[in-house]
């Protein structure tokens, strides 16, 4: 009994669950079956893929469009919506 009393009570418990880690530490890229590959010679840098990427994994540095494979789940929206068909979905080996 005295041991139980020594345990922290409800007043010590945080009032709500607080997620404290950044989701970016969790790499969702390993969900992928097909990966998008950008043909840089066809790419017109219209950034349509960037708009429609649900995972924010299209990276634009001001010059080229790249895919951040750490997070890309391989949904294929970018390849479907690319107006010049510069993105192809390639099966992961």
């Amino acid at each position: 009994m005295s041991e139980d009393l020594a345990k922290p009570g409800w007043k010590q418990i945080p009032i709500a669950g607080v997620p404290f880690k950044k989701a970016t530490e969790y790499h969702t890229g390993d969900w992928r079956t097909f990966k998008p590959v950008i043909d840089q010679s066809k790419c017109t840098k219209c950034l349509t893929c960037w708009i429609f990427c649900p995972d924010d994994s299209i990276v634009w540095d001001g010059n080229t469009v790249q895919v951040d494979y750490r997070y890309c789940k391989g949904c294929g929206i970018c390849a479907e919506m690319c107006p010049v068909k510069a993105i192809t979905m390639v099966k992961e080996e």
Partner: protein
Amino acid sequence: MSWINLRELAKKRSLFTSGHRLCAGCAAGIIGRLVMHSVPDPKHVVVVHATGCWEVAGTIFPYTAWAVPWIHNAFENAAATASGVELAFKALKDKGVVKKVPDIIVFGGDGGTVDIGLQSLSGAIERGHNFLYVLYDNNAYMNTGIQRSGATPRYAWTTTSQVGKVIPGKLEARKPIANIIAAHGNAYVATASPAYWRDLMEKARKGIEYKGPAFIHAISPCCRGWRFPPNMTIRVAKLAVETCAFPLWEYDPETREYKLSPPSLAIAKNPKLKKPIEEYLKLQGRFAHLFKPEKREDLIARIQEDVDKEWNQLLELCGIT
């Protein structure tokens, strides 16, 4: 020039970050990014979440995909929580603790908005709190496994409106939630589709800047629940607008006028552009029973009739006849 300059905007990382665990191809992630990129001041924003897929997938303990202050309370009280947040910041501002009241954005799914959270949302709008409520409408309770909701369209298959010999999916029509909110009279209301991203971002900015309650009803195609391949999300969101199953419009509380947005206005001006509803239905597996084993022309005609009726009503509201 518009504030939307893609090449500049794309250099910024989203406030809803990568690493969230929404399904591949989920439209909620796209809507979230577009809305968060429309925030005028990223340092002064608070996000409130109703329970739903997005709340769960965005913040799986101990991870959070939100780079802004974020609060989740329960299914039924997202709007009430937002009211509290607004009042708390107002009190802190009066005491001189904070300099300004942040923009408050609420995200809720159709279950948490159309069914469970409707009373708290209606109350918060009536009280005139200053917040933007974004409803991402995936047409069912997708988080718990595709159960029918008040937003599920007629004849859609869900796990609680099974398709069989007796019934062809959900028998009832969906609730016109955006019209219900517009009927309050004091809220800025808009419908949006992620396929028309510029339109969605402009509406989000307008909603945030409006001094009072704002509500955006965004269609959020769900590849798992609607049964289509994940790469077709945006195509489906686009067809919903092109077939007038989900027309885009705005309601201005100051003039009390409804206004069609450009993609739908083009259809109103040239009715030839309006695609038959069949094109929208046949992409989705939840409507597969309308096409297989034999084509149910009667049921498709009924859905088309619903769509036409709602569309004509909307045209009347917008003063186009």
